[in-house]
């Protein structure tokens, strides 16, 4: 439990356990949500696009936070589960289903498929489990292409019409952003609360020591499958949002490379809290955009340089920054934030 400034006392257990325990915290959250929503009007289309895609990515990374961060089950196939959600949403949308139906169904479909790949987790773990999740990534495009064209478009993929919510067609950058922001906020809250629930504590228990947790009554098989299901459920939601945003789904959009990026974001941000997932997505996305803008500036300032060289260097810079962050803060940026917060709370006394 994170510390509070001295002098704050609670008179009930519920108040002690509340996510938001003080008025400044509630005010801060309300202000943050208001600020985020107002981005729809304050930002230009370019930044709205980045924020929207960042929100879609966040939902998928929150899912990974559950599977890897909470339950300790290494999953390198999250992008395949995102793909399943995207294809289910595209297929249902093309048959006239509303987003109110397609969104939950996409999540459920990805969750159900993930059970198949979660089953080996009952027997194996670590690198061996990671390999079975990579299998999901490899099997996904082959199965999708082989299924009848009428289901998911076969090798051609599927186009997706914009969603309609209460008669409002979501087809502008602002409306997409608000839709994604709403889903991402709910996903963030759900992931946060899951960690405080009985199931979440079981996830943590198997993460710390699965044999010991089975001794104290945790049903290992059930909990591991639940962890995979929950992580893929989030991936499915992310996939549905992706399908509506990009307006076309094809198997080559959901690659192993994307899965690796998801894990990278989680590691950089900190895998043990939803806030870490959010920090990871934000930092990596901003870093990608930053080095990209820097590359563009360099290219326009030094006409003698080749575009290929400049942008190859930006990738090196991006990789280098990630390595440095891992070297100096292996627990992720969320840990750094936690240190900063506790230092502030006990000020003027020194931390530790």
């Amino acid at each position: 439990m994170s510390m509070l400034p001295s002098g704050v006392f609670f008179q009930s257990y519920a108040a002690e356990q509340g996510l938001l325990r003080t008025w400044p915290q509630r005010l801060g959250l309300a202000a943050s949500l208001l600020l985020l929503a107002s981005m729809g009007w304050l930002m230009n289309d370019y930044w709205l696009g980045i924020l929207t895609l960042g929100g879609i990515t966040l939902v998928a990374v929150l899912g990974l936070h559950i599977t890897i961060g909470m339950a300790g089950l290494l999953n390198l196939g999250q992008s395949a589960f995102v793909g399943i959600g995207a294809f289910v949403a595209a297929s249902m949308a093309s048959n006239g289903w509303s987003i109110w139906v397609t969104l939950p169904c996409s999540g459920l479909a990805a969750g159900v498929v993930s059970i198949l790949f979660g089953l080996p987790a009952v027997r194996i773990k670590g690198f061996y489990l990671a390999l079975t999740t990579i299998a999901a990534q490899i099997i996904f495009p082959i199965v999708m292409i082989r299924l009848p064209d009428g289901w998911f478009g076969g090798s051609a993929g599927m186009s997706v019409e914009p969603p309609v919510i209460l008669g409002w067609v979501i087809n502008t950058p602002r409306s997409y952003f608000l839709l994604v922001l709403s889903v991402a906020a709910v996903a963030f809250l759900a992931a946060t609360n899951l960690g405080r629930s009985r199931t979440g504590r079981a996830f943590r228990a198997i993460h710390d020591n699965d044999i010991a947790s089975s001794v104290v009554g945790v049903n290992l098989a059930k909990v591991k499958i639940q962890a995979f299901f929950a992580g893929a459920l989030f991936a499915g939601f992310s996939g549905a949002l992706y399908a509506y945003f990009v307006r076309y789904v094809s198997t080559d959009q959901f690659t192993l490379w994307l899965s690796v990026w998801y894990v990278g974001m989680l590691i950089v941000g900190g895998m043990h809290s939803p806030f870490g997932a959010m920090l990871g997505v934000a930092v990596i996305t901003l870093l990608q955009e930053g080095v990209h803008l820097l590359g563009t500036k360099v290219l326009s300032s030094f006409t003698g340089m080749s575009g290929g060289t400049v942008f190859s260097l930006t990738n090196v810079v991006l990789g280098g920054v990630i390595i440095l962050m891992l070297l100096f803060e292996p627990l992720g940026l969320a840990h750094r934030w936690s240190i900063l917060k506790s230092s502030y709370r006990i000020w003027p006394y020194p931390r530790g």
Binding site: N44, D45, A156, G157, V246, Q253, S306, G307
Partner: protein, 407 residues
């Protein structure tokens, strides 16, 4: 009286000056053309030449024909990283800030993200790559001067089949990768060709390999049992290189047929050109070193891109830009230099035909219609081959493509 004459002269001079200024202002009608590039994705290594092909054509056109008709094209490039999600998120910004009259796409990420948006946003897109059957839709606002990859291969196959020593079907082997829609479609198209012309073409073996294989020797050994006359590898350079190495290991001399993006020049960066002796690159534009290709001179004069060199890549994108400026010229003739819009360019693209002269020897004449995003009449291709370790044209004439219905 004297004063009146002076006044009249001064007024006439002022009127003439205003008219001249007005004409000059008209001469400076500027429109934006937005361009999709990939400086940070899988095609970053060829992007300098890619952009150089487009940039040199647009600069030449602004300097010559554009000046004459009173239009200047302002080119805005966007690094889309060959990623559909980046295209989707960047497109609204392009619409609001660039307000383009035409968009030059780069590859399938542009196509899949934008094909549904373009008709609503009223911006036509011109591609430089060949198409695939899943994108063969009617009433689209996406166009290419090149047909599908399978059409392009069919042109060379027909040429080769006609030159077989005995009268029989050409035996075709294919190497491709499952799971990648575009790659699978290339093979599907060739299978459809063989079904349509069973006496001329026969797909004897289709080998599915890794996208970036280390070796394909066992697959080529299996294919060799069917004695293919050629092996089609239309996918990527890694597969061309692996196939060439496999043929060398097995002591076989079967020619490989490649496309423009994974062609002989690219493969020869990894293996000696001599190992590709007798192999082909085929595409629906003239080889860059064809003496009839006048756009090579334009490139030599106007290219400003460091690292950009004249070759298959630059020729391919120069063709894309040439179609764009030809459409602008046609639109200006119809609506005037002051009234260009995405709709005007779209109408002009469909109003063809475009004569071969518009394309500086790079492409044959073409006609676009609403029922397909590429020309379907009188299709023709050209090809390059390696002879004595050097690249040369297979035929000085355009090779006609057999009719091929959508598969």
């Amino acid at each position: 009286m004297k004063i009146n004459v002076w006044k009249s002269t001064r007024r006439a001079f002022l009127a003439a000056s205003c008219a001249t200024l007005s004409l000059m202002a008209q001469a400076q009608q500027t429109y934006t053309v937005s361009v999709s590039l990939d400086y940070t994705g899988p095609f970053a290594n060829v992007m300098d030449s890619w952009w150089a092909g487009q940039q040199s054509v647009f600069d030449w056109w602004n300097d010559t024909k554009g000046k004459a008709i009173g239009v200047k094209l302002d080119i805005k490039t966007h690094d889309m990283r060959y990623d559909a999600s980046v295209v989707a998120r960047t497109w609204p910004q392009i619409l609001s800030s660039d307000k383009p009259i035409v968009f030059l796409g780069m590859g399938s990420p542009d196509l899949v993200s934008l094909m549904k948006r373009l008709p609503v946003d009223k911006v036509p897109m011109i591609m430089g790559t060949a198409m695939i059957a899943p994108l063969w839709t009617s009433d689209g606002w996406h166009f290419s001067y090149r047909p599908t990859y399978s059409h392009e291969f069919a042109g060379l196959f027909a040429y080769m089949q006609a030159r077989l020593p005995e009268k029989r079907a050409l035996r075709i082997g294919t190497v491709s990768t499952q799971g990648l829609a575009g790659y699978v479609d290339q093979v599907n198209g060739v299978v459809a060709l063989a079904k349509a012309y069973p006496d001329r073409f026969n797909v004897v073996s289709s080998q599915w390999v890794d996208n970036q294989p280390i070796t394909v020797t066992s697959q080529i050994q299996e294919m060799a049992k069917f004695k293919p006359d050629l092996i089609l590898v239309g996918t990527n350079t890694a597969q061309v290189v692996a196939t060439s190495k496999a043929l060398k290991e097995l002591g076989l001399k079967t020619p490989i047929v490649t496309s423009s993006h994974n062609g002989l020049t690219e493969a020869a960066k990894a293996i000696p050109m001599a190992d590709l002796e007798g192999s082909y690159s085929v595409f629906a534009f003239a080889p860059y070193n064809d003496p009839a290709v006048k756009v090579a001179d334009i490139f030599a004069k106007y290219n400003k891109v460091k690292g950009g060199t004249w070759g298959i890549t630059a020729a391919q994108t120069a063709g894309q830009a040439l179609l764009a400026v030809a459409a602008v010229e046609k639109a200006v003739a119809k609506v005037g230099a002051g009234n260009l819009s995405g709709q005007a360019i779209y109408d002009a693209l469909l109003a063809g035909p475009y004569s071969a002269e518009s394309f500086q020897g790079l492409m044959p004449s073409l006609q676009l219609r609403k029922d397909a995003p590429f020309p379907t009449d009188n299709l023709a291709v050209k090809a390059m081959t390696v002879k004595g370790g050097k690249l040369e044209a297979v035929s000085a004439d355009w090779m006609p493509v057999p009719a091929l219905a959508k598969w």
